[in-house]
Point group: C2
Chain length 509, copies 2
């Protein structure tokens, strides 16, 4: 293995620093071609990570980092600097992820990233009664309350599928944790290190001018998994924010739980869609086409991909046919990695072994990490028999169609669902009773309940909940998207009892 160059630096306490130790560097691979991308990037040692934690702890206690105006100014300046490098960053993200440049990365996801940073700036600046700080003054008792930072750096870890808007150093968890007054230690994603480096460079530039402590934002590319788990348990680290796979998320959760650290984890979801009998009668083909469109977005690598369609009652065959037809005419999707292709192939094998039938697609389709758009179908009895296998998340352009004979079957399926980010119901004329029977079962099993629209779009508005019960996330009380509630996650509840006015934060005086 040869590298043309190695940029062996991480952003540590305000300085781009060579990593300690001698782990081999790693490289990204262009998923559209399978070719390695120069340069290589460094893998940290525990010594590096320990330094980040200690420096982050100093930043947490630094007086300048208690100043809402400085924090907001940093976030806004950072967004401006990113915008100024939009073309180069989007091009790098496109090359490293295979996601479409236009409009997805350069416009939609880029603007979402900037919008989140600017919303977070507004949230940081807001000290009003409806802000994430939730200030309460009680003159009668002299007992006041607010929410404040956690007292240490937050470790953020982003996913493979949103290299900008969910990136550990520029995404929603980052923006939320910073807005709440916490330093951040951001771990880049090994599949898009060049994107992470460019984002972190912009953050570092904004930090210099911000007046905040230099360790307010620190960044490293990669580490051994065991060192990452150890970092969570580091006494200086306050919390962890994560979006990614269930396996990685559960390992992080166990480490955080054992150390008594709050963790905010978005892990997995199959996002079932129930087409109620009236909806099936009236619009099977439109629903099938919409489902296929939703499955194909981002090559099916959305956390909100509707992986299962449960069509209730007679006449659902046209729904399946419309989805198959749309997927047959779609080009193969580019997955993020060859490992993703292998995982998807073995997942499909498990599904067909369990009795699901491939109706279109089903195979890898090079060059690079391409995979055919795939629809499977299974009858409801077999689905019930092999529920654990068939109702598992499959990351890629794949959907499973289940024909349910009636509402009793649908309700039985609903009652077995794990916690989900989203559940969708399509309704038509005469479906009110069906809604009333199914909705109570589904409501507590998902963070977002949708009617007559596909779940793949996640609007960044205060009313969004991008969360849900375990194992979709680690806790049903929180949302990763939608400010100011996503900011409040990374804060603690504080009471000031009998404290003199001069010793209170300004918003409680």
């Amino acid at each position: 293995m040869r590298y043309h160059s190695v940029m062996s630096t991480i952003l540590s306490d305000g300085v781009w620093t060579r990593v300690d130790g001698d782990h081999d560097p790693f490289q990204a691979i262009d998923p559209a071609t399978g070719e390695r991308i120069d340069p290589g990037y460094p893998v940290c040692s525990w010594t590096d990570l320990d330094r980040l934690a200690v420096a982050g702890s100093r930043a947490a206690g630094h007086p300048a980092n208690q100043d809402p105006t400085r924090i907001a100014g940093f976030l806004e300046d950072y967004a401006d600097r990113l915008d100024a490098r939009r073309e180069a960053i989007a091009a790098m993200a496109h090359r490293e992820t295979g996601l479409p440049l236009e409009p997805r990365l350069r416009v939609v996801e880029f603007d979402r990233m900037l919008g989140q940073l600017r919303q977070a700036a507004a949230a940081a600046r807001d000290v009003g009664p409806d802000s994430w700080r939730s200030p309460i003054r009680d003159e009668a008792t002299g007992i006041h309350a607010d929410r404040g930072p956690l007292g240490g750096p937050v470790l953020t870890i982003g996913p493979n599928n949103f290299p900008l808007a969910f990136h550990a150093v520029s995404g929603g968890d980052f923006a939320s944790a910073i807005a709440a007054g916490n330093p951040v230690i951001a771990k880049g994603h090994p599949l898009h290190p060049g994107t992470g480096a460019m984002l972190a460079e912009c953050a570092a530039g904004a930090l210099v001018d911000s007046g905040l402590h230099p360790a307010t934002v620190q960044f490293f590319h990669h580490c051994r998994p065991e060192d990452g788990l150890r970092l969570i348990a580091h006494p200086a680290v306050a919390a962890v924010g994560f979006t990614g796979s269930r396996n990685a998320g559960l390992a992080l959760k166990a480490a955080a739980d054992a150390a008594g650290k709050p963790s905010f984890l978005e892990m997995s979801s199959v996002n079932p869609v129930f087409a109620l009998p009236g909806a099936v009668s009236a619009g099977a083909e439109e629903i099938g086409a919409a489902w296929a469109g939703s499955i194909l977005m981002g090559a099916g690598q959305f956390c909100t991909k509707p992986g299962i369609m449960i069509a209730i009652g007679d006449g659902s065959e046209p729904l399946l046919e419309a989805a198959v037809s749309a997927c047959e005419s779609a080009p193969p999707g580019i997955l993020f990695s060859a490992e993703g292709v292998a995982t998807l192939q073995s997942g499909l094998r498990e599904m067909t072994d369990a009795g699901a039938e491939v109706r279109c697609g089903g195979s890898a389709a090079g060059p690079g990490s391409r995979f055919e758009a795939t629809v499977l179908a299974v009858d409801s009895n077999r689905f019930a028999d092999r529920f654990e296998v068939l109702a598992s998340e499959r990351f890629g352009p794949v959907g499973l169609f289940v024909a349910a004979s009636g509402m009793d079957e649908a309700i039985a399926i609903a009652g077995r669902l794990e916690g989900q980010l989203t559940v969708t119901m399509y309704t038509g004329d005469g479906d009110d009773d069906a809604w009333d029977r199914l909705a109570p079962v589904l409501r507590s099993r998902c963070g977002r309940l949708l009617e007559n629209k596909m779940p793949t779009g996640v609007a960044v508005v205060p009313s969004m909940v991008h969360g849900g019960p375990y194992p979709a996330t680690g806790h049903p009380g929180f949302t990763a998207v939608g400010m100011p509630t996503s900011v409040a996650r990374f804060s603690m509840a504080r009471c000031w009892d009998g404290v003199a006015a001069g010793h209170l934060p300004s918003w409680l005086r």
Copy 2:
């Protein structure tokens, strides 16, 4: 072992039911005399607990349990029924716990219990923008949000030290979980089973008239610890609320974490007090007397007992002397059990082995579970050397005095503190700089920061935070006291995306 009678029933799905299996019953003991109290009470089997979980799950899905008016009506009727039995319940609690009847149990704690239930009723009824439901309507996107029940019963487990206001079937966790629309499975405390039975009888009576599902409130006395942990992991159980010891809390937390269940745990706190140099100069004796008074409340068995006094600077000897003098003239306190006496005695032995010196008290003093009011002192070097032993919580009328030579030493101590429910600073003239140095270190280490008052009083007001970082609790974002935020704990974040008006809860239409 003989029992005069055995009331072998638990409240299961609306019916007082004999327990399954053949575990030996248990009895309370009068801690003032050491005598057994009749009758005996039953220990559940797993079969009993499984039935409670399944019935509770049905209650969670019952349409009547979604009605805020019914929930509020139940809570208010329950409070009225308790009030009508005030004398008998308070007398039973007095006999089982040894806590003073007047005014503590019959007036103060009883009124607090009733007040919490009525505040919870008001919270249940409130569907406004500032309520725990946090409704958000977004007309532009059609994406609305609120908070709602968790979808299954909440297991509540109360402590030994507040047999009314923190009781699993009548206390703050109970009231909060019910107000948020959840059924509750309440586990009684083995040290005050008669009190629990009387409380649960009132709840059962109110439930009959409420129109809520009969399994909305279920109650059992006791179970084997391993069955309790298994109940937390039961698929039907949504969450657990707990107040008690650190050992029990950590075992519950591990079970809840492994099963992906939210847990709200109040576990332990030493509640350090820092007397700053100006305060020591001006008012050493008053602070010492106030400290002793706070240590003696409830025989030192408060979760907010200020277990350690760190007096900074010269002239702190009169503070220690005043505390010793007050404790020497106080009668021995009644601990809840002989086990509590034994645990305290061995804890004091650990402290003296580590170099602390007993300045008064230090011994058990029968009859019953009495223990002398005890003050220990240690120099700051030895305190630093044996920090883990000397800074541990000791449940009972015991306080440790530490003389710190100056602010650097005090800040070093502060930096080593575990998460606390409360930290207190006493300030006087010229202490502003000292505050500014110490407060940032202490603020993120406690839920409630006090100035110039002792922490034992916990006002039930919206600005209260009875919470704090691990291991004081399991999560720094929550409070067990103070509505509506304590209610919101037991809810999930919900989004309604594109959902037709007729399918929305009334407060979102």
